[in-house]
Point group: C2
Chain length 168, copies 2
């Protein structure tokens, strides 16, 4: 998302980041990759995106080394966050916690917990038990109430470690 | 930014947040409000936005109680983040740190420091000296190299406390 020449000139790190991940849908794709949804068709169905849009966004993320395309089971390629992409966890976690606090009923919130001690994550991503800020790979997610027909939401009723493949 | 009925149904906190702050330019407005840029014309000039777009984004943020319009000096109203808006700090900080790490030369980065002890903030927003995660109001920013003609970048060469009014 080119934000205009002014932004390139401003050296603003927020603007630079938004040029890479600020386009409509992109952070939802990144969110699903954190959840472990890795296949093109699964991403498309889960987010409800037209194929052209998903392809465009994924290609941009691969170009920017946020996502890599890897051989998956069978003949299907899969998409996975690179270490650079995993560095977006504070952004995704921040959006999730802010959305939970302000827009989602407590009983419908996705729970984020520190894998080591089961502590809920605070609004700033730190563990409410030990105070550490776990990397995404040390975070467990679990959904309280799945929506009917959303196979991934059903799968997420079991505790699931972020970045591990999610197979409904 | 309505992301489609599927998202409303999904109760996804990330999607809900993006409906409020995911529209093009919105997080750059929020960033400037953290820096203390509060006047309509200053926001418009600093971000380089057409008035209709800035008005639209600000109205949406006011409706969602992210921003409030308050009487400023003289007859001019100003815009300020509400406590709910200040809760977006982990998101803005995450984008800034990720952008700095990946896209901005070290000598041109905006520095983020903990006000209490001067510690640089880590990628996850924690202080490199004491390990705490300061709220935005306890963070100092300072720009190394201002761009010519950007009065705010020049003002930010002096250490500046987030959320305090920035007057070039």
């Amino acid at each position: 998302m080119p934000l205009g020449t002014d932004y390139t000139n401003q050296d603003c790190a927020v603007a630079r980041s938004l040029e890479v991940v600020g386009e409509r849908w992109t952070l939802l794709i990144v969110r699903d990759l954190f959840y472990g949804i890795r296949r093109y068709n699964e991403l498309r169905k889960h987010i409800g995106l037209p194929p052209a849009t998903l392809t465009d966004r994924l290609n941009h993320l691969v170009e920017e080394d946020v996502v890599e395309r890897i051989p998956g089971e069978g003949a299907r390629d899969e998409y996975r966050l690179t270490p650079k992409g995993e560095g977006l966890w504070p952004v995704v976690c921040g959006l999730a916690q802010w959305g939970n606090a302000n827009y989602v009923e407590p009983e419908r919130r996705m729970g984020y917990k520190h894998r080591a001690d089961g502590g809920e994550l605070n609004a700033n991503g730190s563990c409410s038990v030990c105070g550490e800020i776990p990397d995404a790979s040390e975070v467990m997610v679990q959904k309280a109430t799945p929506l009917p027909k959303d196979a991934f939401a059903v799968a997420l009723q079991e505790p699931h470690r972020l970045l591990q493949p999610l197979r409904p």
